[in-house]
Symmetry: C2
Subunit: 203 residues, 2 copies
């Protein structure tokens, strides 16, 4: 898992396309459809890319079967980000504890990853320790949104209360905690994404 053969940008595009077609059309594409999408004049180009993806362990091909492409479980699905190592990107391999299969039109935007909630600072809006929150990566958020923010090296989930160039206020949803005020010109501050919803699994 850690030493994963890297894909060329073209191969990566192909893999994304396959994944996209599966979720949009409900079935994997044919070689011809891949060729059409990328402007290949021969279906064999698609075939060769597929073989490369098999060789590198990203997909399986069922031979003799139309549309017999399946994306290997370990690389499909949406990553669950557990504890975040200080300063590292959220989606760095060491932060991804697992991946889950998840298809559906449940949330209002696409889910880039799930973040496992630590602590009780959001318990009054029903977000509790261990919950998975669905995150869409974006910089633009508005007051009232529940956001994933990075303050210096720490990642936190709070309600955005106020935001301008000189001042940011993040509000915990728990009477025992106080608002966090940040001056982005002094402290390092970044919006990592917006919380689209919550997923909790009992047992």
């Amino acid at each position: 898992m850690s030493s994963m053969k890297s894909l060329t940008s073209r191969q990566s595009e192909i893999l994304s396309f396959i994944s996209e077609v599966i979720s949009n059309e409900g079935m994997p594409p044919t070689r011809k459809e891949i060729a059409l999408k990328f402007g290949f004049k021969s279906a064999n180009s698609a075939e060769e890319h597929l073989k490369a993806l098999v060789k590198k362990g990203y997909i399986d091909l069922r031979c003799g079967t139309s549309r017999g492409i399946s994306i290997k479980k370990s690389f499909s699905g949406i990553p669950i980000v557990g504890s975040v190592a200080a300063g590292s990107p959220l989606l760095a391999v060491e932060n991804v504890e697992e991946r889950i299969e998840f298809n559906g039109n449940i949330f209002s935007d696409s889910v880039d990853y799930f973040l496992r909630v630590k602590g009780d600072s959001m318990q009054e809006v029903g977000i509790v320790e261990g919950d998975l929150i669905a995150i869409n990566k974006r910089r633009e958020v508005k007051p009232g949104d529940i956001v994933v923010a990075r303050i210096n090296d720490d990642v936190t989930v709070k309600t955005l209360f106020y935001l301008d160039k000189k001042k940011v206020v993040l509000r915990p949803e728990n009477k025992n905690y106080e608002d966090i005020e940040i001056d982005p010109s002094i402290e390092r501050f970044d919006i990592e994404g917006k919380c689209l919803g919550v997923l909790r699994n009992y047992n």
Copy 2:
């Protein structure tokens, strides 16, 4: 939606099989695969069943396309049960407010339906008004489980605290509410299912 053309048992079996193959194999079956499954000696039998399903509005066929079967959204997916009319079965048409596409290995058991939460009686465990809770239909539950129960004509979601033939205690997870004690030999009491998890969508 309400006056849905009914399927014959064979058609229903075919539809279930298609749905099963899609979720297991990641692509719809061919006519031949359907024929194989049901022991038809001709792929045309499958073709005719597919046409019947199209005619009755349960699926779409993309012509000339291998495996071009798609189950119509309105009949796939998992039902969301909103307010429950007194005395009616949870999954009665009038109680289903919507359906959502939902595939994945997220919950510990299969989700039969989602129930939309009313009120704040479970807020201390992070289940709040408007949340969807994933329910698995079953009679057997144990203390500690969050259950969907029917007391006389009312449906309620609570933590099961105690259960024997003469006494049942359901516990709201909110200090403002008191335990509900039922004598199943006097009151009508049924376990409708177990809550597997929570789904919440902001915005």
